[in-house]
Assembly symmetry: C2
Homo-oligomer: 411 residues x 2
């Protein structure tokens, strides 16, 4: 059976060149980068070469990169690290309602710790309005954290404008670029950001390596205290194989960004244009233009989301309903909620994130296999039967269990 | 040239069987464990199988393991996680003066945050006295954190006795077992610990995976907030290849523990007995019996430690002066300081941590190559010249710069 992997926002296949670069560090070059002998020095050199490559992707100075274990750690370090370091200056933080959970939950944690968090709303496309930021920013605002692009609906924010407003008010600006790094060009100077998070596992690099860019002079309270790794900002043995892979992934991403981006945009266009020609009552989520070239997010009305994913899976098509960090929780996406998608429609959403490996044949396959699955599911749907009979949609009342299918075990 | 790697406390060579187990997850099985499709399910299955193997090594229930990125993260999560969760009960924490930096610095951070930290002293062998713990424990003590074995001098603590004292006083007990896991048998029930940290990178597993065992019912405030990974206790995409490697490493370690331990103990005995026969004025640090079977730590008088490491390196012998997390800081080891080694002697210390890969030929090689290096270095030493001339040792006065050769950049 053909396999079409379209869950590249959750994890990407490691580029074979990345794997080759990692290989020596999984085998003979196993030294600890902090050891003074030559095997340690080899690891240290690899670490610093990778730092240069990672910095290069976002046009940052090489010394302003902290390696972490993943994008979520980078986001936590940025937000909590700044919050704790600048608490004497103020305790107000602004973010948006459609951030990744690692930003939202880090902010929530600070909220329990005496900080005040403002969540900016977004419009129906998921855009954060600069006016809203201007209205909400205060003298005691120490940090504004708005994502570069949304991982679920692909909407790209006007970071340059937003960071200007933050700086005018004396606040620092962080952007989560996990979804955008390697997909669209990023230049920390052009964006005007003070901190930026990204990771290797969504750009054909390995899991286990993330990075946080921070502008020179910015203070951060570490989350992981201990040794002197990462200039004392992130203790713990450096994951050299993953970091080397991340470095190589950044190098390749920079080189091939334009080609890959154009290729994905072509496939994206086909899905966005041709799927609605074959499936009735499906709606694109996110902005039509200010959008990552690899992101396609449709709400398919009158189908049950989980069933759709499983039926597609049986055809070898791997998609997801939203963020990987929450999909097993089976809650309605907070992003679709924020852009005010009707819950009855939102629960039939499907997120397809393309990669450089996808082909026109993949798209042909989806265009053939997806519509009959929708038909099959709709034939089982009482909502659809009601709609066919009455021409009317049922209201999603308070009794609906689209949300909270499962409760997440809380710590 | 022959290579003899004796820095296995900093990093170990990955076991080829571990590498083989990881390989599919670095290649075709690249799914995110949180994705609902079959590639995600494959990752999820690998994650849970590894959890069982990791729990198995320490005889813990499978659901009580949290995967982290490294031992330092496990220690930070244990200490800060408990401290923040139980702050209403008390704000007093007890640890020892010879803990790993990730414990000491985590405690120091809490000290800046309104917690009170007691650092228990150790005797000349590095033993924490149960009486000292008994004397210092209080009603508001929420956590006692004492390492299972010291990574620098190998001294093994009486954890069973210490945890009993903690529990009698109503405090939780954490042990850092990064140096001991896979080297000596560990059973969390026998030790009576509530939390235990360990990691894969020092037991022939890959860098990038650590674990924290926590007893059922213990509350932890996460360091990394975000998705629902690890039951909400540690957000971030799971590093499946590293976790799979860690699992395989635990499985192998459990199976081969006795054989490997006996083998290393034999080599250890040779180094401890035969090196002093060939080099004058060298002193074993740590306990003669209550000691990890892979640990050898000598102070070599009248030599400059860094020079010794570099000369050994040129002969293909890879050793270190102490903990990898601090060796590049070139400070005097806090462990040797705590066991009251004369600073002039301590600065010539050499740490050799054996692995299952070391052989009798390795030991022969060291016994041949090490003594002439010491002779060569002593011939350059004014301290040694003074000693030869006068028969007296020079005092290490306040002018000595054994400490703080370099200042660590502080965040």
């Amino acid at each position: 059976m053909k396999k079409v992997y379209l869950d590249n926002g959750s994890a990407t296949k490691i580029d074979p060149r990345v794997f080759e670069a990692m290989l020596p560090y999984l085998k003979e070059d196993y030294g600890n980068a902090q050891s003074m002998h030559s095997l340690g020095q080899k690891a240290k050199d690899a670490l610093e070469n990778s730092r240069a490559a990672v910095a290069g992707l976002i046009n940052a100075p090489v010394n302003q990169i902290i390696f972490t274990s993943c994008g979520s750690e980078s986001n936590n370090l940025a937000i909590k690290g700044v919050a704790y370091a600048y608490k004497d200056k103020g305790k107000h933080i602004i973010t948006s309602s459609i951030e990744h959970f690692s930003v939202l939950q880090a902010a929530k944690r600070l909220g329990q710790d005496g900080y005040e968090i403002t969540y900016l709303p977004v419009d129906k496309y998921g855009i954060v309005s600069p006016d809203e930021l201007e209205k909400n920013i205060r003298k005691d605002t120490i940090l504004v954290s708005i994502q570069n692009a949304n991982p679920e609906i692909g909407t790209i924010q006007d970071i340059k404008k937003l960071s200007e407003i933050a700086h005018k008010a004396g606040a620092l600006f962080h952007t989560d670029a996990v979804a955008s790094a390697g997909v669209i060009p990023i230049d920390v100077n052009e964006l005007g950001v003070d901190l930026l998070s990204f990771a290797g596992s969504t750009m054909y690099g390995p899991k286990g390596a993330g990075a946080l860019f921070y502008k020179k002079g910015i203070r951060l309270v570490p989350l992981l205290d201990g040794g002197i790794q990462e200039s004392g900002r992130r203790a713990g043995t450096e994951n050299i194989p993953a970091i080397v892979g991340f470095g190589k992934a950044c190098e390749i991403a920079k080189e091939e960004l334009k080609t890959n981006s154009e290729k994905m945009a072509g496939l994206q266009k086909r899905l966005i244009n041709e799927l609605p020609q074959r499936i009735q009552y499906i709606y694109l989520n996110g902005h039509p233009e200010m959008r990552l070239p690899n992101n396609v997010n449709f709400s398919v009305e009158f189908v049950e989301g989980e069933g759709m994913l499983l039926f597609l899976d049986q055809k070898g098509i791997y998609v997801t309903s939203g963020s990987a960090c929450t999909s097993r929780a089976l809650k309605m996406s907070h992003v679709l909620q924020a852009i005010k998608i009707d819950p009855a429609v939102a629960q039939g959403s499907v997120l397809m994130v393309l990669s450089k490996y996808n082909t026109d044949e993949d798209i042909d396959y989806i265009l053939n296999e997806f519509p009959p699955i929708v038909t099959q599911l709709r034939n089982m749907s009482p909502l659809y039967a009601h709609f066919l009979k009455t021409g009317k949609r049922m209201e999603a009342g308070p009794g609906t269990d689209y949300e909270h299918h499962h409760e997440v075990e809380d710590s």
